[in-house]
């Protein structure tokens, strides 16, 4: 026994146990295996690895190495079915049966055959491909054999060692003829082996396998018998197995409701093509984030920030609004443009997308069309509180709007080398909008009728946008050093034509008409905007953890416009010089700054300072030659400090804090001294004296997770205040005609905090998420020359329960209570308290016979204490559906929306020194039957998607 242990050595301790075990179980004795390894010339193969394997599944039992004379020995092998496998670099592994009931085995000299030098050189060394041996046949991965683009498999085969292709296309492998070619194990176009090799593109092949059909199943053991012919199997690359999906949903309902939605998409590793189309008058756009991903493919997530560099990794910069008509809206925001459930909508959307991506070049192009129609008949009740009196406005309006947009985006990204990337983006858009607005509005002063206005406005807008950007990103050999630079030019043109008709009747305190103001105008306006931007960024590592980031931003925004206002006096059109304007505005912005960033293992701390200069120049005329009515010429500058911290050093904890200061330049509409009299009771003026608004914000966020117990806690807080806040100055005359002018006024303090916790009561069956959100807003404005301070305190606790007791049943409950207190120091008797309580239930279940139920019930209770008003709106939607057809490719659904007929498009709001309530005629109860066809099959799931 002692001797045995020594001989085995450490490695075979377990073998020893095995031996003991087998010794005790069976009375069969152990045996020895030995042999001498030589090459075909009789040279000993030294230090080659010899493996002792289980015959059944080639599990390794032990291994040894051959000695200087090529000899090896396994001692004390328990009786059983074994294999000995010898390996030596450059030689075919030799596998021999080593089963024994206890008799020693001596193979004597075992000759190993070299793998052809050509194979070793070409397959292993040059192509770095794995080589697989079955007995004495060899198989290898053909992916790495380079052939010119457009080559066929036949061209590829000519390059592979061991394979010959005859002039007639017939193939020989290892001197034997290949009589069968399969693709992914399946026969390709019948039995002619040449069909596949002549027709398939070489770049689509991942693997070429040549084997004797008979020995295919013999993977491990020695090949027995030789076949006359060989089979060649070609495996396709994963990327050439293209994917794709698509579905179409059509529904028809009562109340003339209908919807149709379809998408289709096809892709492989390099190309992605997709289309989507939606038409409905149900107000449900029906396009989800999944649909967006299906449509945009690899372009769904845009990681670059648009190139407006700043302190952080992302551009921390001024941006300007979408502009009237929303021409600057991008495709993503159009895609998700959902109606708010008010009014009667009719929408048509659709687009095409094509992406190309081979590691070096990325091209994506997308076209999207949208048409949105909305008919809204609204009733509004607005109270405004002034010093000493209350103004009440009671109005009804009908808006009939239809807008259309064509948008296209093209992106080309080229990797020049591993360090340099160039990118070119182009956007184009064309929009038009047709809007008719009719309204009647009664104004009361402390419940006494003061004026009635009737308005009819018709507007037609059309416009186009061109936007091009060239961007460069460069990294350097020195790690952490990088730079970016870009230039862009945006140009938009908008044409408006509108007619404006209004009658304003003014009454005295006894109800007698004292005045009538008539407006009958036919107007047009041309607006042109050009924005040129240039940005640069450079990051230099100061140490391995410390980086200096410097940036420069330049922007020149030029806007010109011609606004012609013409009075229609009994059919005679006369130009109104007091309201007509031409303008030319130019805002040049320069910013440069630096920040120091410490970043190391979960801590990113950044602090910096920037200096910015605004140069505003403008002039306006009434449109007549040499009639400059005013000019603007203003310069101002600010220092912009920045601090931010991201901390993820501690396991399961994340924390971030930041202080940001930003400047926002005035909207051009606000800067222009233009009179907007679309609503005769509410006149808007421009203010050429407007300064940029500076905002300061401190944000804090922290979250803690306990993944094992599925608990998540988060805390969020923010405080912000302004300098030169954009506010308004309102003047209300004795006839309650309000004139409003944008001004810089007040500091607009806002602070908010929220916290949430989610935890399971029973894991995966019952989880709870509870949160509280609170908000304190202080706003300032000028009303009739008096400062008005509005304070609003909001708090909203909410709870959500996810109850999923089984795969066939789910219940989601959410409840929230929103309490909002608004106080007005101009008139504190008008202090408001509004409450919204919401309760939502979603119940999904699998019923009998493959039928599923999906239902949601939402009640919203609105309450305003001061007006003693209460509004309860319960909305019930429910549907049952069932899949059918083989592969569950189709689904039929019966649905009812707003079963109680309660949707009145209600909203209530308290803002500034006003309180409003509004209802809009909206889609109420309807029934719908819809059919879905999905080429990949439908999946019925009673559970909502989990994002974690």
């Amino acid at each position: 026994m002692q001797k045995l242990l020594c001989g085995l050595g450490k490695r075979s301790l377990s073998l020893f146990v095995l031996i003991l075990l087998s010794c005790s179980l069976f009375s069969q004795s152990d045996y020895k295996i030995k042999g001498i390894l030589e090459d075909t010339l009789g040279n000993a193969l030294i230090y080659s690895t010899v493996l002792l394997l289980e015959k059944a599944d080639s599990t390794m039992i032990d291994f040894t190495r051959s000695a200087m004379d090529g000899s090896f020995e396994f001692k004390d092998v328990p009786a059983g079915q074994h294999l000995v496998k010898t390996t030596y670099i450059g030689f075919l592994p030799l596998t021999v049966d080593a089963s024994s009931q206890g008799e020693d085995i001596d193979y004597g000299v075992m000759q190993m055959t070299e793998i052809a030098a050509e194979l070793m050189e070409v397959v292993i060394k040059a192509a770095k491909a794995p080589m697989r041996m079955r007995g004495d046949t060899i198989e290898y991965d053909a992916t790495t054999f380079k052939v010119p683009e457009g080559s066929t498999v036949e061209d590829l085969l000519r390059r592979l060692p061991g394979i010959e292709v005859e002039s007639d296309g017939s193939i020989n492998a290892d001197g034997k003829s290949v009589n069968r070619v399969t693709v992914d194990g399946k026969s390709f176009f019948g039995s002619d082996p040449k069909a596949a090799t002549k027709n398939l593109p070489a770049e689509g092949i991942s693997k070429v396998q040549v084997f004797d059909t008979k020995t295919e199943e013999e993977e491990v053991t020695v090949a027995i018998g030789e076949s006359e012919n060989k089979t060649m199997n070609l495996e396709l690359k994963e990327e050439f197995k293209s994917g794709g999906f698509g579905k179409v949903v059509g529904g028809i309902g009562t109340e003339d409701r209908a919807e149709l939605k379809g998408n289709y998409n096809r892709f492989n590793n390099k190309m992605q093509f997709s289309m989507v189309g939606v038409a409905n008058n149900t107000g449900r756009n029906g396009l989800s984030w999944d649909d967006y991903q299906d449509f945009m493919g690899s372009q769904s997530f845009q990681f670059d920030s648009g190139g407006d560099y700043g302190f952080g990794g992302r551009g921390n910069m001024i941006f300007f609004g979408g502009g009237r008509g929303g021409i600057e809206q991008d495709i993503q925001s159009i895609f998700f443009n959902n109606d708010d459930g008010r009014g009667l909508p009719e929408n048509y959307n659709g687009g095409l997308n094509l992406n190309y991506d081979n590691k070096k070049t990325k091209v994506s192009s997308v076209y999207y069309y949208n048409q949105a129609g909305l008919l809204a008949n609204s009733f509004a009740d607005v109270d405004k509180f002034y010093d000493g009196f209350v103004q009440n406005e009671n109005s009804q309006s009908i808006r009939d709007d239809i807008s259309r947009g064509h948008r296209t985006e093209l992106k080309i990204e080229q990797k020049i080398d591993s360090l340099l990337v160039l990118k070119f983006d182009f956007n184009g858009a064309y929009i038009d909008d047709n809007d008719t607005y009719e309204a009647k509005s009664d104004l009361f002063r402390d419940d006494i009728l003061t004026s009635i206005s009737k308005v009819t406005n018709r507007t037609e807008t059309s416009g186009n946008l061109l936007n091009g950007r060239l961007l460069m990103r460069k990294k350097f050999m020195k790690k952490g050093r990088s730079m970016g630079a870009n230039v862009s030019l945006l140009k938009t043109e908008l044409n408006d034509d509108w007619t404006q008709n209004s009658v304003l009747d003014i009454f005295n305190e006894t109800g007698l008409p004292i005045d009538e103001i008539l407006v009958d105008q036919k107007n047009d306006e041309y607006r042109d905007k050009q924005v040129f931007k240039a940005n640069a960024l450079f990051v230099e590592p100061l140490s391995k953890k410390l980086f200096l980031q410097s940036f420069y931003n330049y922007r020149d925004r030029n806007e010109t416009g011609v606004r012609n206002v013409n009075d229609n006096l009994a059919g005679e059109i006369t130009r109104n010089d007091s309201l007509s304007r031409t303008y030319n505005n130019d805002i040049v912005y320069n910013r440069f700054g630096s920040s120091l960033r410490y970043t190391h293992e979960g801590i990113t701390l950044s602090t910096g300072l920037a200096y910015q200069l605004f140069d505003l120049k403008g002039s306006y005329t009434d449109g007549n030659i040499n009639s400059v009515l005013g000019t603007v010429d203003k310069q101002f500058n600010n220092y912009i400090p920045h601090v931010s911290l991201n901390f993820s050093r501690i396991r399961n904890l994340y924390l971030s804090m930041s202080y940001n200061r930003n400047a926002k330049e005035p909207e051009i509409e606000d800067l222009q001294p233009i009179v907007n009299n679309l609503n005769p009771q509410y006149i808007r003026l421009g203010n050429s004296e407007l300064l940029p608004e500076i905002s300061n914000a401190i944000n804090f966020y922290t979250s803690k997770n306990y993944p094992l117990s599925d608990i998540r806690i988060s805390l969020n807080g923010s405080v912000s205040w302004m300098e030169n806040q954009f506010s308004t100055e309102e003047t209300v005359d004795e006839n309650l005609i309000t004139t409003v002018r944008p001004i810089n006024f007040g500091t607009g303090n806002r602070s908010s905090a929220s916290t949430s916790i989610s935890f399971p009561i029973k894991k995966n069956k019952f989880t709870v998420r509870a949160s509280v959100w609170g908000n304190l807003n202080k706003g300032q404005s000028l009303v009739n020359g008096q400062e008005n301070n509005t304070t609003r305190i909001n708090y909203r606790p909410s709870i959500r329960l996810n109850i999923t007791p089984s795969e066939d049943l789910s219940l989601y409950v959410n409840a929230s209570y929103n309490n909002s207190k608004t106080s007005y120091d101009l008139n504190d008797s008008q202090n408001q308290k509004t409450e919204d309580t919401k309760l939502g239930l979603e119940f999904n279940s699998k019923l009998v016979g493959g039928v599923y139920l999906n239902s949601s019930f939402n009640v919203t209770m609105y309450r305003n204490e001061r007006f003693n008003q209460e509004q309860n709106i319960p909305i019930l939607n429910a549907s049952i559906y069932r899949k059918f057809m083989p592969g569950d490719k189709a689904e039929i659904r019966f649905a009812v929306y707003d079963a109680f007929k309660k949707n009145i498009g209600f909203s209530q709001n308290a803002y500034g020194y006003a309180v409003s309530q509004r209802t809009t005629d909206s889609i109420s109860r309807y029934f719908m039957v819809s059919l879905t066809y999905n080429i990949r099959g439908m999946k019925s799931d009673v559970r909502k998607k989990s994002w974690w």
Binding site: Y47, K128, M131, M133, G243, N764, N934, S946
Partner: protein
């Protein structure tokens, strides 16, 4: 030549074995040269060095295999993020004598943002057959101290080159994570260890491929020249102490619960 030191001889064997791959034509010469070495060579297993590995995880493929993910959802993921660049994570395996340590390589910051890296240190003592693993899974630092369990390796008939070394293929299964693991090992580095805690083969493992490419750990640099003074085993290895069995049961439960709750368990545990 015959009186050459053992270590030198070993070195020669390794070097020559490598050269055989690089210059196959000189194979015969090498064999002749080998005859000149002392016969001690075969039993001596002293080798030391450091191997850098890169591990890439294919989230698209892992996601596609989760039981609750429909083929459409799997395709959507491939469509959206299939072409995202994946640079992987680098690890270092230092080995000397019969001990090794495998851990995340400390990387220089790229200057943009820095995330905390999960703790991952695997210490092996093949002499004493013991291991000490510190790993962060399911949000918990776990310190696993146990015997090295014997891996049942099947030896397959495939060879390929990894970082200049000719490797053979072996296969094993992880029943807890449902993985088929392929290891490519070379007998030119006579150390029965490897990356990701795998070992027990007749040579160093230079590549671990889990489930046909879902996670591939491959050697990117093999340094057998620089002597290892002392293995860089961190002094502080703090975590919840447990044995392998306990660890396995935690992981098994976590995977089952995550899948039931339709969450990808491998966001929280190492694939």
């Amino acid at each position: 030549m015959v009186v050459m030191g053992i270590n030198m001889c070993i070195h020669n064997v390794i070097q020559m074995k490598n050269k055989q791959i690089r210059m196959y034509t000189s194979l015969k010469l090498s064999i002749v040269a080998l005859f000149l070495c002392s016969s001690f060579v075969v039993d001596a297993q002293v080798v030391e060095g450091m191997i850098t590995f890169n591990r890439k995880t294919d989230w698209v493929s892992i996601n596609a295999k989760l039981p609750y993910v429909s083929s459409e959802e799997a395709d959507r993921r491939r469509l959206t993020s299939g072409n995202w660049e994946n640079k992987g994570t680098n690890y270092e395996l230092s080995f000397k004598g019969d001990k090794s340590v495998y851990q995340t390589k400390k990387e220089e910051s790229s200057g943009t943002y820095s995330w905390r890296k999960s703790k991952f240190i695997l210490v092996r003592d093949y002499g004493k057959k013991t291991k000490k693993d510190l790993r962060e899974d399911a949000g918990v630092d776990m310190l696993i101290e146990d015997k090295i369990e014997k891996t049942r390796w099947k030896i397959l008939n495939e060879i390929k080159e990894v970082e200049g070394y000719l490797c053979m293929k072996a296969e094993t299964k992880d029943t807890i994570k449902g993985q088929t693991i392929h290891a490519w090992f070379t007998d030119a580095i006579p150390f029965s260890g490897g990356p990701e805690g795998f070992g027990g083969l007749p040579g160093m493992i230079l590549e671990i491929n889990i489930n046909d490419g879902d996670a591939v750990t491959v050697a990117t640099k093999v340094d057998l020249e620089t002597p290892i003074e002392k293995l860089p085993i961190p002094k502080k290895m703090k975590g919840k102490k447990m044995d392998q069995e306990k660890y396995n049961s935690i992981i098994e439960k976590f995977i089952a619960e995550s899948i039931e709750g339709r969450k990808n368990p491998f966001w929280r545990i190492r694939y």
